[in-house]
Symmetry: C2
């Protein structure tokens, strides 16, 4: 590891990084150590102002684009070079935790400050970005800011979205932008040399395997289905089993078959039935109708494609007396991150003596859209028991700092390539 | 078959019996050929008045007890002999059919009229009874009238029961009794020589096996349980399957184990999971809690006892990462009917050349309580596809008449023993 990089990494301040998490957690604090900081809310505005204040105190320039993505820039030697970008989001789930999203923003700021404190020169500028409305908890869909910045979706598509109180996104966005009038304008779809996002894992693998850094190889593909089983209600006491058309009994046979289909020695596949609605849902009536959800995820495009396509035939093969209907409700193809960025993260961790492992991301992130426009990677740090989207979300100061150190070294490497 | 019995049977009038079903079905008629005739409602009162009018037109005496059980009596040669009783109920499920309950009342009336038309003398009186509130759809629990008449439960226990609108049973019962002021008082727990109840099967066995008469051997035993599975909610995308505590996944494993426990080549056992509630019931969240019902029935006391007792160990043996709680919610031991009454029914059918088969009842009936106080039996007739507790409930006029003929012959035999 180059000396300038080592110097920058040594400036990462675990206490400052932790303290900033606690300060940000005051904005929208809810009982149980949780955070409710909806996109384009007064809490979001307060978080933006705090971030801008920290950035300005270090002399970084601040800009904002028309969907409110907030950029903090440390100049490089080549002012015209595309920046290396890092960041995540500051909005939260309605009952979210203190680390989801905000960690990537604060780790990015910490990296910029550490690099700056070391007086390190980088060829490319480094830009921290806080993407607007990643969670989508107030205004659907999620990852809106990165989708618009990357050009995947036009801003106009989202301006008329309403929240549950009837507030139009256009108005909430206007209020948000007006609250930070001193931020310079930033265009959409500006060239990006590379993007690295730090995030809590939101799963238990790092903790379970005793690793501090997850080198994220991509975001797994997702297939959603609703399966409906149509049977016939009958008296539980009088109707022999061999003449029943028991929708719940057959739903279970179908789920057994889907379990067999998705059995996976590597435990890489995620198969979840999380929702089930039974009609008439009475102890002494055979069920006439069952609806259940299938959530299937895998990082490998061929695997998720094969298994997703096998869902309906498997359902039909398992059904006996009932009728079935299989409705695909969502499909996200796997996103593969750039191997060069992953190598840079892995080497940074190795150079710092921090244990890492390669892993796919189970959840979606803004990096999914950035991967369409530039070499992209993610750095995961452990969170307690993998709990996320929950007030109980927790992480250790030393793990957050380790992630910021690996991020710092990675940005230094990428900004000098 | 004795000549008097043959004469009485020949007086059973299929058209009259069918017409009376249609007339009764007008009272509380709902769309789709259904009936909503709740206990102690104005519809119940209208049905009582109609029954009393038919009884009086034939000169039968009418009486009523303090829970509204309505008795129609044809005298026997020995006025002090305990009567042979027949009947069923006139109340219906909220979305009930045209035959459940009312058939046993109208078949009993048909038998009394046929015997009377034949001028047959019987040693014992024959009493038709319309039991109050068999369904329990408005005022829980069910089979209330027969429970109180038989002395199994005191009337006082039910007087303060309220319906969903807050009406107290005491008041609804008072209104009902006041509506038939000319009915003489009838005591509870009067001696009964024998009881025979005719009813639609409410299951498909007679239809499937091509028999017209079911000679009911008893009412099967019932064990109910609520099974709760306690897991932990987790992100469906990020949480590996091997660290999940997936309450729905384990509920299914438990149900699979219960299916294996209750596998039954004879198809005599009834095992039903009809109710399932999933929390949080979201497609991308691992379920944290599942509650499901177990309804287990079998006519053999040893079998239902053994299987019922095996439910909790089977549940505990099938669970892996979750916690479970098994709560017994209902237990009715099997009720065995008197073999002498069954023989009388079977011989009556054979004497009339009507195909019969012995079978247990899957559902509960008022006969369950009468069996505690006198030799008891039941006569089942087929209903279309076994559908009951449903507007679509249907039966054939000729089957209803066949059941009334067998009932007539059986009552003649029992009343002359």
């Amino acid at each position: 590891m180059r000396e300038a990089t080592q110097d920058a990494v040594s400036r990462v301040d675990e206490d400052r990084l932790w303290r900033r998490h606690l300060e940000m957690a005051e904005i929208g604090a809810i009982p149980g150590n949780g955070v409710n900081r909806a996109a384009f809310s007064s809490e979001d505005i307060a978080a933006r102002k705090r971030l801008i204040a920290w950035a300005r105190s270090r002399g970084f320039s601040v800009s904002v684009d028309d969907i409110g993505n907030l950029f903090v820039r440390r100049s490089g030697l080549d002012a015209r070079a595309a920046p290396v970008m890092t960041g995540s989001h500051m909005d939260s789930q309605p009952r979210g935790g203190r680390f989801d999203g905000i960690y990537g923003v604060l780790a990015g700021l910490e990296a910029l400050e550490a690099i700056d404190a070391a007086g390190a020169k980088t060829q490319r500028p480094i830009e921290l970005v806080a993407w607007s409305n990643e969670e989508g908890g107030r205004f659907a869909p999620c990852t809106m800011g990165s989708a618009v910045f990357s050009g995947a979706r036009p801003l106009a598509e989202f301006l008329n979205v309403r929240d549950n109180e009837g507030v139009v996104l256009r108005d909430a966005l206007r209020t948000t932008l007006a609250a930070t009038p001193d931020a310079a304008p930033h265009a959409f779809a500006t060239p990006v040399a590379a993007y690295v996002e730090a995030h809590i894992e939101q799963g238990p693998r790092l903790e379970t395997e005793g690793k501090t850094i997850g080198v994220v190889t991509g975001i797994q593909g997702l297939r959603w289905f609703d399966v409906e089983v149509f049977g016939e209600s009958a008296h539980a006491g009088t109707t022999p089993l061999n003449v029943r058309r028991d929708a719940l009994c057959e739903a279970i046979a179908i789920i057994n078959a889907l379990h067999a289909l998705t059995r996976d020695g590597d435990d890489a596949l995620r198969f979840t039935v999380g929702r089930m609605l039974v009609t008439p849902n009475s102890p002494n009536s055979v069920a006439s109708h069952v609806l259940f959800s299938v959530d299937l995820r895998h990082p490998d495009p061929a695997t998720i494609g094969r298994l997703g396509d096998a869902v309906e035939p498997t359902v039909r093969g398992a059904v006996r007396q009932c009728d079935v209907k299989v409705t695909p409700t969502l499909r996200d193809d796997p996103c593969m991150f750039d191997s060069g960025v992953a190598d840079a993260i892995e080497q940074a961790a190795a150079g710092l003596g921090i244990a890492s492992m390669r892993m796919p991301s189970g959840a979606s992130h803004d990096a999914m859209y950035l991967a369409r426009v530039c070499p992209t990677g993610m750095i995961f740090v452990p969170c307690e028991r993998g709990v996320s989207h929950n007030e109980a979300e927790n992480a250790k100061p030393e793990d957050l700092a380790a992630g910021a150190r690996v991020l710092t070294a990675t940005l230094m490497e990428l900004a000098n390539r």
